[in-house]
């Protein structure tokens, strides 16, 4: 039966950090595989076929970004990034290169475990997709392109729908500005970050109960956005 437990590969050079990750993930019922270097991590991802990979960005031998790229060449396994505060830019690069989410060091285990659960759940149902978003005050049907707020029909623009669909595809996980711009407006608009800002403001005004304190369309400053639903 042990093989049914999800396996998590931890690519981290600091033994003390591996120690509490091992203890905590193990206590939650995950099977933990550890790699102390980036090169070892890329190999272990191939041989152990984990259900999720946690990669530290600050590895001594190769850049964490290269580990993400190396794994993404052949695998869609969910990848979580551990980054330090000073690594803002490489964090965004790693996300753009295919990492699914991140946690900033120092982090509480509650936060990391929540990210792990979301990423595993997402991987399990990514083929099904999320077509209807049930929000606090509003409902959006992404397939039929209809939306209601407090029971009344409201109108969203085609771009607003596309933006929501892009966020919904990564429900609960962060989506970078660059990813949103490339997917919604096209690759030539990757640097027009003000487009996303303005459209997110519009969406919040239409869908959030309190647009200043959004519950669903959450900002990850300097990175992107995260769509949260109540499920």
């Amino acid at each position: 039966m042990t093989e049914l437990r999800p396996a998590i590969l931890v690519v981290e050079d600091e033994p003390e950090i591996r120690r509490f990750l091992r203890a905590s993930l193990g206590a939650e019922g995950y099977r933990v595989v550890e790699s102390a270097t980036g090169r070892r991590g890329i190999i272990d991802a191939g041989t152990h076929k984990p259900d999720l990979v946690i990669v530290d960005l600050g590895l001594p031998d190769v850049d964490g970004l290269d580990v993400v790229k190396g794994i993404r060449e052949w695998s869609t396994v969910p990848i979580l990034i551990l980054s330090a505060r000073a690594q803002e830019r490489s964090k965004v690069e790693a996300l753009d290169a295919g990492a699914d989410d991140y946690v900033t060091k120092p982090f509480g285990m509650g936060e990391l475990l929540a990210r792990v659960r979301v990423a595993l759940r997402h991987a399990a149902r990514s083929r099904i997709g999320t077509n209807v978003l049930e929000l606090e005050n509003a409902t959006v049907d992404l397939e039929r392109r209809t939306a209601t707020r407090d029971g009344h029909d409201i109108r969203l623009t085609p771009i607003e729908f596309r933006l929501l669909a892009c966020l919904a595809k990564h429900l609960g996980m962060v989506v970078t500005h660059g990813q949103l711009l490339a997917e919604v407006w096209g690759p030539t608009h990757r640097d027009d970050t003000h487009y996303v800002r303005i459209y997110m403001k519009q969406l919040r005004e239409k869908l959030e109960k309190d647009p200043v304190r959004p519950r669903h369309l959450v900002t990850e400053l300097g990175v992107g956005y995260r769509l949260l639903t109540d499920e």
Binding site: R85, P106, P158, L221
Partner: protein, 358 residues
């Protein structure tokens, strides 16, 4: 280039000698030669007091020459008939040198004094920093070492409740420590100028939303009123830094006012600036210059305990200035403090119009 002050000194030496000569010529009819020599001496003393050796020596030589040529017999010659006048000349020169020497040494002492004062000030800041670090970093460290060693050494003998409590305080204290260290590092980065702004067009609403989410628990005891007009222009800023600045202002408001009181966050356009204001209704700002709250390691209450390291507002101002803006503090009539974070508004970018879906 030669120091202009030196050149001006020589010019004044010439002027002073000329003035003494004019006065001497006017006095010649009715006064003794000794008194005329005194007039020259005064001019030499004035120059020696005001400027350094060079001008003083010039003034004394010129004075001696003029005195000799115009007033000491034989007139119109540099020769001297009475030897006692040579003594007069030497005395003038000696007075000039002595006074120059005295003035120079007084100046040197003053310079040394001010260097000492700068060093003392640096030392004072350093010891305040150390005191601050000692208190704000050591307290959480003491709890962390104590609680973790208790868990490591007698974990099994503790009740589950105690274990939880210790673990929770470990988490809380190390989180606090993380915040402190981050602030010290941040301030150091500002001071060494190693911060690169990642500027992007963004909305104040988004920054405010992010900071309100982060400080949800920290601000839970206060009544937070948010008033952000819908039509505020976009600003081109480093969103993470402005979020930090705004967070520091809100935390500052929450720290210095009793639970249950109102903290107000608002924003408005004022000319070519976007002004974000945080207003609290507590005890207000300390007496005297309101600017002092922006000094590093400043504590608004004299007790100054447990409310962080006094770096929040200094960091806030550094961030604002890095963006070409500023932060001002203001007393609120009836008690309370207002902080206004002003950011420059640039020409906002355009977004293509979109046809509505039907």
């Amino acid at each position: 280039m030669k120091a202009p002050r030196e050149l001006i000194g020589y010019a004044w030496a010439a002027v002073a000698t000329a003035a003494a000569t004019v006065a001497g010529l006017a006095m010649a009819a009715r006064f003794d030669l000794v008194n005329i020599a005194m007039v020259y001496l005064v001019s030499v003393v004035v120059i020696a007091l005001r400027y350094s050796y060079g001008p003083a020596i010039l003034a004394s030589i010129a004075s001696v020459a003029a005195l000799d040529y115009l007033f000491v017999p034989p007139l119109g010659h540099f020769s001297v008939s009475d030897v006692q006048y040579l003594l007069t000349f030497v005395m003038v020169l000696v007075v000039a040198l002595v006074i120059s020497y005295l003035v120079e040494s007084v100046r040197r002492q003053a310079r040394a004094q001010s260097t000492l004062e700068v060093e003392a000030e640096t030392e004072r800041i350093r010891s305040t920093l150390l005191a601050s670090i000692s208190h704000d970093l050591r307290t959480p460290l003491a709890v962390i070492v104590g609680a973790s060693s208790t868990l490591a050494e007698s974990g099994e003998r503790l009740s589950a409740e105690d274990r939880h409590a210790l673990a929770a305080s470990l988490f809380a204290q190390s989180s606090e420590l993380t915040e402190h260290v981050a602030k010290v590092l941040q301030m150091t980065r500002f001071e060494t100028g190693t911060i690169a702004l990642a500027r992007e067009w963004t909305t104040v609403g988004e920054i405010a939303g992010s900071v309100l989410n982060r400080l949800k628990e920290r601000m839970a005891a206060h009544r937070l009123i948010v008033d952000l007009p819908n039509d505020l222009p976009l600003v081109r800023v480093d969103a993470s830094l402005i979020e930090q600045a705004l967070g520091n202002l809100l935390e500052n408001g929450a720290t210095h006012t009793p639970p249950g009181t109102v903290v107000r966050l608002s924003a408005q356009q004022s000319g070519d600036q976007l002004v974000v204001s945080v207003v609290d209704y507590g005890d207000g700002l300390p007496d005297g210059d309101v600017e002092q709250v922006f000094a590093k390691f400043h504590h608004r209450s004299t007790a100054g305990t447990g409310s962080g390291m006094g770096l929040g507002l200094a960091i806030c101002r550094a961030i604002a200035r890095l963006h070409g803006g500023n932060v001002r503090a203001e007393r609120v009539p009836g008690g309370g403090a207002a902080f206004h974070l002003a950011l420059p508004i640039e020409k906002p970018p355009t977004v293509p119009d979109e046809i509505f879906a039907t």
